[in-house]
């Protein structure tokens, strides 16, 4: 394939389809995970290594609920799950299971807190100790997930696969290169925007949210002001559970559910938090997109893109900077570079 002239529109459509749209969706999933890590870091004062596996727990709860929804028992007693409105028929059934998954994840995290973390708060353990504790719980959570689902891949996206497909786009614009938006990508971005808006409203405008910021800022003074630390901790876990279960489910809808992949997700999530500035919610979001865009831009094969842009030239190779199998190395490199050059991150967080 050799193009006759410079074709900027198709080149741009190509990049949008294979980099920008997936990066926005992936970045949103990372951002939700990174916000959960940030909340725990600022309020409970430790780095939660269990975040990736907790997200897998949220997703596996959705898978469990779906199995229940589709069981003979449920069909006999409640009938098939049908969307309440015709225009919602594109929505995957997983979304109806999501509220249950959020509740189960919240219960799971609150029980973990009661059984384990509470003790370390009482004895005022050093953050690094609690960090190691969270690593232990990470393995526990990962084990529970694999007991329920097994270690193999599981897909649970139904409903319409695309909000609009490559063919729709081509027919609409007449370009040879199409842009598709998957339902899961659309849902991811919509829900991420809603959740982030809720979080910022909650932290900045409500009394409970402000008391959480006060507790994060100065624990002793918060106690002197009569803020109940146990309540702050509970509310934090509830918000973290919501973000975790939703992020895990959206990631699973988008990329398929594979327990080990969630485990590895920890690296890009921590990279996002550190790039953005530890403890800064806005930083976590920006950091997540820095990481997701870097991953996709660096692992994309630019051959077709160059063919559109450079008429008469066909590269010999795929023109791929880094193989996809090395994508986690990118997070790692970003992490190291940020820590060397600007340890406070983009939004001037705390220095590690």
């Amino acid at each position: 394939m050799v193009s006759e002239s410079v074709d900027i529109l198709n080149a741009f459509a190509l990049l949008t389809n294979f980099i920008i749209v997936p990066a926005i969706a992936y970045g949103s999933q990372l951002a939700l995970g990174a916000l959960a890590v940030t909340l725990i870091y600022s309020i409970l004062r430790f780095s939660n290594f269990g975040q990736g596996d907790s997200m897998a727990f949220g997703a596996v709860m959705v898978i469990l609920m779906l199995a229940l929804f589709q069981s003979d028992w449920a069909n006999a007693n409640f009938g098939a799950i049908l969307p309440p409105f015709e225009f919602l028929s594109f929505v995957p059934t997983a979304l109806y299971a999501l509220p249950f998954a959020v509740v189960f994840t919240a219960i799971y995290l609150l029980v973990m807190d009661k059984l384990v973390y509470q003790h370390y708060r009482r004895i005022k353990a050093k953050p690094i100790t609690v960090c190691m504790v969270s690593m232990g719980l990470m393995f526990v959570t990962g084990g529970i997930v694999r007991i329920i689902n097994g270690p193999e891949r599981m897909t649970f996206d139904d409903g319409a696969r695309f909000l609009f497909s490559v063919r729709d786009f081509k027919e609409f614009t007449g370009l040879t290169q199409g842009i598709a938006i998957k339902t899961s990508q659309f849902l991811t971005v919509t829900m991420a925007i809603l959740l982030v808006a809720f979080l910022f409203y909650f932290l900045n405008k409500t009394k409970t949210g402000k008391s959480m910021r006060a507790y994060s800022d100065n624990e002793d003074l918060a106690l002197l002001s009569g803020i109940d630390p146990d309540r702050v901790v509970r509310v934090t876990w509830l918000i973290v559970a919501t973000f975790t279960a939703i992020a895990g489910t959206l990631y699973g809808l988008d990329k398929g559910f594979l327990p080990f992949q969630y485990h590895q997700l920890l690296l890009p999530i921590f990279a996002s938090v550190i790039v953005g500035g530890i403890g800064s919610p806005m930083g976590a979001i920006v950091g997540a997109f820095v990481v997701s865009f870097s991953e996709l831009f660096l692992t994309y094969a630019y051959k077709k893109f160059l063919i559109y842009l450079l008429p008469g030239y066909v590269p010999d190779s795929l023109v791929q900077l880094i193989g996809v199998e090395y994508k986690y190395a990118i997070s790692f490199v970003i992490l190291v570079v940020v820590l060397l050059i600007r340890p406070t991150g983009i939004f001037k967080g705390k220095v590690v």
Binding site: K207, K210, R213, A214, D217, N218, L221, A222, S225, G226
Partner: protein
């Protein structure tokens, strides 16, 4: 009986007592100062009054009621307020939010009390949307006072309010403290700058190694040759 008093307090962090039969008191509309050398137990006395440390002997009486066994939070809801020496504002929150957090326990409308704080410290009204961490030392101390005032306390306990500030800011803070006193509250403070503090104080307590050595009005203590020699530099 004084409005707030600690009677013959004995208290320890470990096996070694810090306070030996130490007594302090303050009346409404009065400014009392605890002075003394480093390690004399000044801050410890204040912690006992607040319930952050339990005395092994002695009692704390507030408004005729024995509060020796109440928790800090219970004492705060009775009308005691405390301004710590350091980290006494929420630096990442605005001035207004700091005041709101001060009134966290209150169920009623706190806007009047916030207005009172702004009337007392007009500069805070101008800076109400700025983060407290961006303010100058004196303004920060005003935020700290304001935060403590939000529970409508009748007694304010201040732990070294002028520690580490310049002399000009120190004068500003002392004048703020006089305002607090003149609004009818009882103010008890621990001070390093003994001379200046005794100058404006109605009552002074000199503590040495956890014992009361001199007690009197501010003027009396300044005039006392022994106090002058030992604590005020001649």
């Amino acid at each position: 009986m004084a409005y707030l008093e600690g009677n013959s307090l004995v208290a320890a962090y470990g096996p070694v007592p810090i306070l030996h039969e130490c007594s302090v008191s303050v009346e409404k509309g009065e400014l009392a100062v605890i002075v003394g050398p480093n390690g004399a137990g000044k801050s410890t006395a204040m912690k006992v009054l607040l319930g952050m440390l339990n005395p092994s002997e002695g009692s704390v009486i507030f408004d005729g009621q024995d509060i020796t066994h109440l928790s800090t939070q219970e004492r705060i809801s009775l009308g005691l307020a405390f301004v710590p020496q350091t980290n006494n504002v929420f630096t990442s929150m605005t001035v207004h939010e700091n005041l709101e957090m001060g009134g966290f326990l209150r169920e009623d409308d706190i806007s009047h009390t916030i207005q009172e704080v702004y009337d007392l410290f007009p500069i805070l009204y101008e800076k109400r949307k700025q983060n407290a961490g961006e303010l100058s030392g004196g303004q920060r101390q005003q935020v700290a006072f304001g935060r403590a005032m939000m529970t409508k306390p009748t007694v304010m306990l201040l732990d070294e309010p002028t520690a580490g500030v310049s002399p000009i800011v120190m004068d500003e803070i002392f004048s703020n403290i006089l305002d607090l006193k003149n609004s009818g509250r009882a103010v008890l403070m621990v001070e390093q700058n003994a001379q200046q503090a005794l100058n404006i104080a109605d009552k002074g307590f000199v503590l040495v190694s956890g014992r009361n050595t001199h007690t009197g009005t501010g003027k009396e203590l300044i005039a006392d040759p022994e106090v002058r020699k030992k604590f005020l530099g001649g």
